[in-house]
Symmetry: C2
């Protein structure tokens, strides 16, 4: 038996999120199907980040166990020819038999994209949130500072969470404008249910002038979902990468 890790990119537009469910296609379901067909055994992957319906990824992580003789490194290529074109494995490699992608400590990076111009651009419609009124990026950046560090992010979490604790650490949070595209980049040791989308919705309110940056600390302290801004639409969100600092041996990981 060996445990194999996959780095997976997908366009989440046509999926009901990562996790297998009864009605609708999921990323996890497509991976299980392609892997079981390729390796001729029943495979069930364990995903690192169970992204919501419509959310995209450049580097989500999944592991599975197999008895197959095929070298782990060869699986990415073989899998891609069996996956739909909106899911592509970027890398496959063997990991320790006891490695668990959700239990191992991990640094996640997400990006939320906002197209901020007068009219929509069809080529950007699937992976950005369109916002017509001009956003003040300087104000949005100012509003990022109070989020940095360890906080109880209960205000920035869906009330449907099942998390045991709502304390998380944000290592970096920045807002960058490139032409008409505004990118919110956030890195942390984990994110609560809808947390990045609520952060994005709150920062949009700041950029639009509905919220003042000075109100952010009070929003965090409130520990009440109603204190924060709205949940921004799923299609603007992409899981960029996952790093496992205790596993510098993984390809592409920092030591």
């Amino acid at each position: 038996m060996k445990r194999v890790m996959l780095i997976v990119a997908y366009d989440g537009t046509d999926y009901c999120g990562w996790q297998v469910q009864n009605n609708g296609d999921t990323i996890e379901g497509e991976l299980n199907k392609a892997l079981s067909s390729l390796l001729k055994e029943e495979i069930t992957v364990i995903g690192a980040s169970r992204t919501d319906s419509g959310v995209h990824a450049l580097g989500n992580v999944a592991v599975f166990d197999t008895e197959a003789r095929m070298p782990a490194e060869k699986m990415a290529y073989a899998l891609n020819s069996r996956l739909p074109e909106d899911i592509r494995v970027q890398r496959s490699f063997q990991v320790a038999d006891d490695f668990h992608p959700r239990k191992a400590s991990c640094i996640k990076t997400y990006e939320y994209r906002i197209l901020n111009r007068e009219f929509e651009l069809p080529g950007e419609r699937l992976n950005s949130h369109f916002f017509r009124k001009k956003l003040d990026v300087a104000k949005m950046r100012e509003a990022c500072l109070p989020f940095l560090g360890e906080h109880d992010f209960k205000s920035f979490c869906s009330i449907h969470t099942q998390a045991e604790t709502t304390v998380r650490t944000i290592y970096s949070l920045d807002v960058i404008r490139e032409g008409d595209m505004i990118r919110i980049r956030v890195t942390g040791n984990g994110f609560l249910y809808n947390m990045v989308r609520i952060l994005a919705g709150t920062l949009i309110n700041v950029g639009f002038g509905v919220t003042d940056p000075a109100e952010i600390p009070g929003m965090i302290e409130a520990r009440d979902r109603q204190a924060a801004g709205p949940t921004a639409p799923a299609k603007g969100l992409t899981l960029i990468k996952m790093e496992y600092p205790e596993h510098p041996e993984f390809p592409g990981q920092k030591s």
Copy 2:
């Protein structure tokens, strides 16, 4: 009566090109439908560039005549709410009654995008051509030089052309790599049927080592489609903008 110009952006993935045809949806057809419904009269647009099936645009141009009282500038917004989400008018304004977008002299800019990395990226699949083997961009840039200026581009034109002359002028042609994305940008006074896609296919052959940059002048001189490289796939191509140098009064035009 007034003549109105539209600047139109679209994702060509789900269309049989610009021009109305019997089987399949077209950009022109969708514009005619939305305009006729909005203005309550039968509208038929005249397009500047009749892009092929699967080709995209940021700035194609169409004009039409109307008796409607609605100010031309207001039409973009009103039209967009009646158009499918993969077509968006970027601007609308009145032009001279005798302005014809194909007869007026015009400078067109196209971009061909090539995703050059080991595995496809789902988020880029609709508007780039995926090419796995490493391309040599320095060689591709070297191969651009012989194309500059006025030439008979018969070798770089589909044999199905109906053009009276195959002489065209290329003002600029460059190849730029940004990470894994290679962009071929070309500006000229007009392009023959499939010309940019054949240019792209030929430059890909150069980047891959199948063709040497020194062979390009001979390809042009041959005036034979078989002398040039293959026609690269439509989905990598975007019509970026059209400039009418004799009409510096158009919004966004250089004087």
